[in-house]
Symmetry: C2
Subunit: 254 residues, 2 copies
């Protein structure tokens, strides 16, 4: 039996944001591998084995998935959002790169998904309508000085910025430091979005201004987005405001 | 009748990458609005009206969609990829912001999709596995000097970079100038990905090195991705190489 490894982005949470490609790949798998809460999102299927592991176990999990694939299993590794964004796809390929040469002959497919960042954007309007970047604030994997340099560069160059891993118990002050960086380059009324559990029933999204942005609002499940100098709010009577970053304004008003 | 406007990302092209949420929204619409080739991707439905327009018509198209929604129609505005990324969602909200105050009371929903950038990444491995940014090279909507500043900032801060609108007849030398910027900060063997029609039957993806990257390879449908200093190639005998940007290497080897 020839094995196959499929790395699947499950989307942000809502079943209607799981692509048919992801659903098919999950149905064909003999083994489902991933962080527990993501494995739990995969519909139960008779005879399929489930291998849940802890959040910090990406490389060990990757090796396990590759070993099972070598043995002829059809393995599905699942991530939330898009599997290529701060998620399992890079971990799998890194394990291949550092591991057994025979793993390079395996069939490996990545099925893209709806990323958390774009789900958050769609929930509030179109804040990522112009040049943007995504930065992880986790310094488990890179020095904090590199992260600070990137925050300065992104703020100065006026990108809309999505912050992943914005908060954790191990680094309670990182987000506060990030906001301090943005305040050097952006005005106090720049829109900041805190979004948790987007597309889940318990979705919670707050749009505040940079001057009022409270870092303690974020927890491990929160994505934080900071607008560019162009990002605008459309206020609506008795309804949630929309946030968007224009593409056309200058031309239109010219 | 109460109108509704839904802005829908159709994904990169393959039907199996259209989310169920997008398919439902398309099925409920009375009117499909968008750039011709994207409207053509929507399955035909008896009684549904189709309004195709040219690529440059985003703001007029937005106003037309908002007017129809005001009249009680169920309007679906379609984009390729994710509608929030250099696409129709920002155009619609900009039209709302600049237009009739009554438009702020309309029901507007954005359905996120699988973006071209993540589809390209999944097709070659996981090049967006670490901090990344997306920049449009089109100077229809912003001065070229701003774009150059952003390219410098992104290259210097070592982001993986996705270039949208990388080439057009009106600006044949922009991509060449962008490559010149990257060559100031990155080594010649940095991976560069040219991807056209990703997930379509005529998909074409080339992975080259920065020193060999030929700007004339890109046309209007090409997305160009430039690796960071960490982006690596996994070569495989007689098979296409994989490209990924590691998250863990430093920690793992420490």
């Amino acid at each position: 039996m020839t094995g196959k490894l499929t790395i699947i982005g499950l989307g942000p949470g809502a079943p209607e944001l799981v692509t048919p490609a992801a659903a098919s790949a999950l149905a064909e798998a003999t083994d489902i591998v991933g962080y527990g809460p993501y494995v739990d999102r995969v519909p139960f299927r008779e005879g399929q084995r489930r291998h849940s592991s802890d959040n910090r176990e990406e490389l060990n999990r990757s090796r396990h998935a590759l070993q099972m694939t070598s043995q002829g299993r059809k393995v599905a590794v699942v991530s939330s959002g898009d599997a290529g964004v701060f998620a399992m796809a890079a971990a799998i390929f890194e394990a291949v790169d550092l591991g057994d040469r025979a793993w390079r002959d395996l069939e490996i497919e990545v099925v893209p998904g709806v990323s958390a960042m774009f789900a958050v954007a769609s929930a509030v309007g179109a804040p990522l309508g112009h040049d943007f970047c995504a930065i992880s604030l986790s310094n488990n994997l890179k020095p904090w000085s590199v992260i600070l340099d990137r925050l300065h560069a992104a703020a100065k160059a006026d990108f809309v910025i999505s912050l992943y891993n914005a908060a954790s118990k191990a680094r309670p002050d990182h987000l506060a430091q990030a906001f301090d960086v943005f305040r050097k380059y952006r005005t106090g009324d720049t829109p900041v979005i805190f979004a948790s559990a987007v597309s889940h029933p318990d979705q919670k999204i707050d749009v505040v201004s940079l001057k009022d942005a409270d870092p303690s609002r974020a927890d491990m499940r929160t994505l934080v987005m900071i607008g560019s100098s162009m990002t605008s709010i459309i206020s609506r009577p008795e309804k949630a405001s929309w946030v968007y970053t224009p593409r056309f304004r200058k031309m239109d008003l010219a």
